[in-house]
């Protein structure tokens, strides 16, 4: 029977020293980052080099993860895919921050009508299920990876706006902001030079969470055929393209799928670990 004492002891253990989740997460994430950074050097073959003679070959010494239906090396494609996946994750998060943070700062600082209008607009955006908003944006243009990235970024804007606004509401009450106003500093100066530097810690935590959600959502869009297009080696697209060969050549599906799972697990562990160190109170579950 686990008593309150056991739980307290466990929390004590977690508090002392670096959490194991952080170390494992750091290892996995840095491995993926390194693979992505050095991809062209490490990949044994060009990711789009086709070869009729080596179609659908099982894993071997020459092709560690086998080859796909065009005779392309699955290992090379998976390694190159890491770049696209991280590009999607960080790119979409950056877009989301660039749009969401200024709007949130603005709404939280000015209050009044503008705030009311912005928050209502965000409520409408949030009344779309995330994937549907992405689909709606992508339905009308020829698909491509960067469009999917923008769509994923826009999907998460309302969350960031809400967070930035609530943080700003709090900071705007502080005395140094009153001082800045009394000095006659401009609104833009106060927003970006006074408030933003103090608002970033919770925003950074949220942005970290968004990266994995963005990777997963982006891959789902590519999987549905409205993200990256052939011959791209995006993991979602690779999995989608390989489905007809599930029976004859399961390695084409398994390699990108496992790579993606490991990447997301790594980043999630890293985030969990960081949160345990910096802010134990933030470890609440949240929806995508």
């Amino acid at each position: 029977m686990a008593s309150a004492a056991t739980i307290a002891a466990r929390q004590e253990r977690q508090r002392s020293g670096l959490p194991a989740t952080l170390l494992v997460g750091l290892c996995l994430t840095s491995t993926v980052l390194a693979l992505a950074a050095l991809a062209p050097l490490i990949a044994p073959y060009p990711y789009d080099e086709m070869s009729v003679l080596t179609r659908l070959k099982p894993p071997s010494a020459a092709h560690w993860f086998g080859t796909d239906d065009f005779g392309r090396d699955v290992l090379s494609r998976t390694i190159m895919g890491a770049r696209l996946s991280l590009f999607m994750g960080f790119g979409a998060t950056a877009i989301c921050l660039c749009i969401g943070v200024p709007i949130g700062l603005f709404a939280g600082y000015l209050r009044g009508r503008a705030d009311e209008f912005i928050m209502r607009a965000m409520d409408v955006l949030m009344s779309f299920p995330p994937i549907l908003l992405g689909l709606l944006i992508l339905a009308v243009t020829p698909p491509s990876l960067w469009k999917a990235m923008v769509a994923v970024g826009i999907v998460y804007v309302p969350l960031i706006v809400r967070l930035a606004r609530s943080v700003t509401l709090e900071i705007a009450q502080e005395e140094f902001i009153l001082a800045a106003r009394a000095r006659g500093d401009g609104t833009a100066y106060i927003l970006f030079r006074e408030i933003l530097p103090n608002a970033w810690p919770p925003l950074a935590v949220e942005a970290g969470l968004r990266v994995t959600f963005a990777i997963l959502l982006g891959a789902a869009l590519s999987f549905l055929g409205i993200g990256a297009q052939p011959p791209s080696s995006d993991w979602g697209l690779m999995i989608s393209d390989a489905r007809p060969f599930l029976e004859t050549a399961p390695w084409i599906v398994l390699a990108p799928g496992i790579a993606m799972s490991v990447t997301v697990i790594g980043i999630n562990l890293l985030g969990d670990g960081l949160r345990q160190i910096f802010d134990p109170g933030l470890r609440l579950g949240r929806t995508g």
């Binding site: 029977m1 686990a2 309150a4 056991t6 739980i7 002891a9 466990r10 409520d123 409408v124 009344s127 779309f128 299920p129 995330p130 994937i131 549907l132 689909l135 709606l136 944006i137 992508l138 339905a139 009308v140 243009t141 020829p142 994995t212 997963l216 891959a219 789902a220 999987f223 549905l224 055929g225 409205i226 979602g236 999995i239 989608s240 489905r243 599930l246 029976e247 399961p250 599906v253 799928g257 993606m260 799972s261 997301v264 697990i265 999630n268 562990l269 609440l284 579950g285 929806t287 995508g288």
Partner: protein, 314 residues
């Protein structure tokens, strides 16, 4: 409470109107003229003009929107360009299929998710807790479509226990019908079980530390009664609203799972129509899905208000 309900419903109605405007505006940007699509690749310009006139495509946008919106309110979603038949019956059939899939998944999520969460909380710090948190961690990290494909590989291709996709033939028995739902529902449920059990665990832990649970134990009540009657009841309040909110996730999951398993539901209809630029079908299916999501949010809000007197009387 009544005022609150009225306010929420009015808000949902406004949201849906704005959404329909948004859907209409965005789909108007679709490349390619609808008349051109209907007339086909080799139509003469005259034919295209004639069809445009017939469909009222040259009317101002507000008039087109009004025509579309009022038809939708009468249950008429127009005709599909690709399937060349009225959308409404197709849409309702797909919706029924999706509803079966989603409700099976939802029940599994509620039962298994809450069960695992309670188990993990009771045995906090023990082997079961670690097992459950590992499981939930995988659930959150592994993409749904990959998880679905792994299920197909294991249970369909290797073991041959379950069909890998599609729907059973109309004449077949209940078992065959049910077998076709198992894998897609399991795919949908996986990530959500993770989410629900996490939430249940944390709220259950909070309750277990409370004074009244200690009192119940001190009274000498059996542990089973303490857990089920005293702790779980209170711990479930946040979980119930979480469950309702998860419907949004469920909808996203439905789109993916239906694509993986070629399951003829609403999500598949939407992807199919996007691939083929079937404009009226895209508008209709997105609007219906958004309406379902809004209603689910409404239910979540009302449940939350019902269980939280501060809002009920606010």
């Amino acid at each position: 409470m009544l005022l609150y309900v009225a306010r929420r419903i009015a808000w949902i109605a406004t949201t849906l109107v704005v959404l329909s405007l948004l859907i209409f505006a965005i789909t108007q940007m679709l490349p390619g003229n609808v008349a051109q699509i209907i007339a086909g690749q080799f139509a003469t310009p005259d034919t295209v003009t004639a069809i445009s006139a017939k469909l009222g495509l040259n009317d101002p946008y507000y008039l087109q929107y009004w025509r579309w919106a009022s038809a939708v309110l009468h249950g008429d979603f127009g005709r599909s360009l690709i399937m060349e038949r009225p959308i409404a019956p197709v849409l309702w059939e797909a919706l029924a299929n999706s509803a079966i899939l989603a409700s099976v998944a939802f029940i599994v999520v509620a039962v298994v998710g809450i069960g695992l969460g309670v188990l993990a909380a009771i045995r906090a710090g023990g082997a079961i807790d670690y097992g459950v948190s590992l499981f939930t961690f995988l659930g959150i990290s592994i993409p749904e479509f990959f998880w679905g494909i792994v299920l197909i590989l294991v249970f369909s291709r290797s073991l041959g226990w379950l069909p890998s996709g599609g729907l059973a033939d109309p004449g077949s028995g209940f078992a065959t019908h049910a077998a076709h739902v198992v894998l897609p529902a399991a795919t949908l449920a996986f990530a959500l079980i993770a989410h629900v059990s996490r939430m249940t665990r944390s709220s259950m832990l909070g309750v277990l530390r409370s004074q009244y649970v200690r009192n119940a134990r001190a009274k000498g009540l059996p542990e089973r009664v303490v857990i089920l009657r005293h702790a779980l009841r209170n711990a479930l309040l946040p979980t119930i609203t979480i469950l309702a909110m998860d419907v949004g996730w469920l909808i996203g999951g439905v789109v993916v799972a239906e694509t993986v398993f070629a399951y003829p539901g609403l999500g598949r209809a939407l992807i199919f129509s996007i691939e083929r630029h079937d404009l009226p079908m895209i508008q209709a299916s997105i609007l219906v899905i958004a309406a379902i999501y809004c209603s689910a949010n409404l239910v979540a809000d009302l449940l939350y208000a019902y269980f939280n007197p501060r809002i009920r009387y606010g």
